[in-house]
Amino acid sequence: MVQTKRMLVLIICIVLLSMMSAGNASAKQILYNSTIEDGDGYQINNYVIDVTDVFVDAETAVFKVYEKDDLKHDKMIGDDKSFSFEIEGEDVEVTLVSVGGGILPRVTVTITISDDDIVHTKGVVDGGHDKASFSGTPILEITKTVSPQEIAVGETARVTVSVTNAGDDDATGVRFSDSIPARFVLQESFVSETGKMSLDIGDSRQIFIYELKATESGTFTLDPTTATFSNEAGGDFPQASSNSPTLTVEGDSLEEAMKEAELQFTISLEPTSVQRTGFIDVKVHIKNTGDAPAEGVSMDILIPDGLEFEEGDDEIEVVGNVPKLYLSSFGLQQEKEISYRVKANSEGTYTITTQYSYQYDNAVDEDLQEVSDELTTTSIQVVKGQYDSLLEQPIYVYAIPLVLIIAIGGWIFYRHRQYRF
């Protein structure tokens, strides 16, 4: 029993160790596992691991690690030996697998790194670090300005975003991000560089120029404009941000400043029930209850089949069988009554729809505001006319008397001619 427990503990320990060793192994990523000739090097970003001396007989080799031209490490190791150093916080381990002779001595090495995400440049460099090419660091300085910095509600302020590459490398894949702040309306955009671009060293460029209209009073800090970018070698850099300018807006809110023309249309009918061939008088009463005058008031009176426009006020003009009314202006609190008359031609229930539209200046927006809607009358009942029953009679009811009348008339004419001397 005791042996069984010991065996179980041992197995668990073995499993745990195996898992730990597997976890360490998976943390290292192999960058290179091959030969490097004497005098050559292996570049990782701005670091170069030079192989400076190979001692075949001693089965040793000398490795020198440079950051660009600066020597950082100088190691001589034998077979199956390693040394480590850090590049941008990541561990790099160089293991000498073997040394070999020939015209040029060479070493077989395995180079691993704890996280290869930082690696943008790697490979064997003939001639070592003297022959290596190193990438720089672009630095994007983003400036966001607003002018003027104090405006009234409804006024506009111009926002200008510019960028300068103050680094020592070109910036590639640059993408800017900017947002319109709340309580502002984008009035007009003049420049908007939203696609990917490149910025050479020292270059300056205007990225955004736009105007914002203030809709509410207050002091507002604009969000910074940000940019993501890479260097020439493709290395990504942290997001760059602009400053956050402040804009002060004074006065009433836009909603408070806004004016509106509000035309109220009411329709009355007299009578609402009529015999066929009778007439219905329609009166449309218009009143501007808003706080702005209206312009271009137009009405289209849609008379349904079965009714017919008979006559109306002089302002009403019939165009294409549609009675229309146009008033060029309609002042504050102005009232007007339009009258017209329709004739009932057919039995049925009808409504008359009036489509109207008008425009007004809301004192905020540059463009005139347009309002269009329609209103419909109550139902009009057209009932059978006094003599309609006569029309519903079969044709012979008319034809027979007509024939008789014609015959009698003809006979009277004939007799009259007989007796006229």
Binding site: W411, I412, R415, H416, R417, Q418, Y419, R420, F421
Partner: protein, 368 residues
């Protein structure tokens, strides 16, 4: 069915003819001609002849084709000599118009004896018809008011004489002087006389072509008309409510029922009495009594009875006269009138007073 021709000559003849045509519509009013039909039992052709177109235009119930205008100014001015001349110039046209209407069994020519066209056209017209055809022709002659003037009276005298000499089969007299008792204004009196004559003529025509209970026909009429002096008149009466047939017969023979003033029991030569009405009114005894009474004075009386359901009794009597004292009186007045006209004309020819007045300025010239 008889074929009957009725000719109206001159204004008077035209108007009586128009009244006959109007009566034939049943007396239904002015519009009857537009919706009604003339109720002639026979085939009756009517012709109005006149030289005055305005007289023809006045006719209302005579068809235009039956109005024959003989153009001569606007009439012949009561001058029978002119009238005869105009007829002579147009007789072929007139006869053609008559003969185009076919053959006839009897003809009546209605005229005034006093006027111009009627009194002058009728004698030669009857003579022409009698020469060309063999059917009997009877003249219905209207005598004038005695006060209408000397020209009318002398025209009447000569017209009647001329008609008798044409070979006419009989003259039926209607006397305006006698009939003016109907009263009223001149126009209504004339119209009443015309209607009265028209009604009798229609009754007679109806009787000559009707089925009768007791028969009188055209032959009987001819016999009656051939009696006496060739002069006849007609009497008529329609019974009032519940009036017996005896009284009705008596009134048709009384002066009030006759067209010409005569005492039928004294002056009549032959007679025909036609009685029409519902059989309930027609008492044979009463009829026989009255007919016997008349025949006792006159000699022979033809009688005919026509039964018409629901009709009140009507009696028409045709009487030929042996003598006519009234006609003698008329001729006496007419002779006076002729003499007066002759003397007047002689005086004018002798004195020539007006010519003397004009002769006073012979040889003078107007001075200016």
């Amino acid at each position: 069915m008889l074929n009957i021709l009725i000719i109206g000559n001159g204004q008077c003849g035209n108007r009586i003819l128009d009244a006959v045509n109007k009566e034939a519509f049943g007396g239904k009013g002015k519009l009857a001609k537009f919706y009604s039909k003339q109720k002639y039992k026979s085939r009756v052709e009517t012709i109005a002849i006149n030289t005055a177109v305005n007289d023809l235009k006045e006719l209302k119930y005579t068809k235009a084709k039956d109005r024959i205008h003989i153009p001569h100014l606007h009439g012949v001015g009561a001058n029978r000599n002119v009238g005869k001349q105009v007829f002579a110039e147009n007789h072929s046209h007139i006869m053609r118009q008559i003969e185009e209407r076919g053959s006839f069994d009897v003809a009546f020519v209605i005229t005034s004896a006093s006027g111009g066209t009627g009194s002058s056209f009728t004698p030669p017209l009857i003579k022409e018809i009698k020469e060309r055809h063999d059917f009997p022709v009877y003249a219905i002659v209207v005598l004038p008011f005695r006060e209408e003037g000397s020209l009318y009276l002398q025209n009447t005298a000569f017209c009647l004489k001329d008609i008798r000499e044409t070979g006419v089969d009989g003259i039926i007299l209607a006397d305006n002087q006698f009939l003016k008792q109907l009263g009223g204004d001149v126009e209504s009196a004339y119209n009443s006389i015309n209607d009265m004559i028209a009604k009798r003529i229609l009754f007679l025509l109806d009787a000559l072509d009707s089925e009768m209970m007791m028969v009188t026909d055209l032959g009987d009429f001819k016999t009656v008309m051939s009696g006496g002096a060739g002069i006849a008149t007609i009497g008529f009466y329609q019974a009032e409510k519940d009036e017996p047939i005896r009284t009705t017969i008596q009134k048709s023979l009384s002066p009030a029922g006759l067209l010409f003033s005569t005492d039928v029991y004294e002056e009549a030569s032959r007679s025909m009495i036609i009685i029409r009405g519902d059989k309930s009114y027609l008492s044979i005894d009463e009829i026989s009594t009255e007919v016997e009474k008349l025949s006792a004075s006159v000699g022979h009386v033809f009688k005919g009875i026509i039964v018409r359901k629901g009709e009140r009794p009507q009696v028409l009597s045709v009487l030929t006269l042996e003598s006519a004292s009234e006609l003698e009186n008329l001729y006496a007045v007419a002779i006076d009138a002729i003499n007066e006209e002759r003397e007047k004309k002689a005086r004018v020819l002798e004195d020539r007073n007006v010519d003397k007045v004009f002769s006073k300025i012979d040889g003078l010239e107007p001075q200016y």
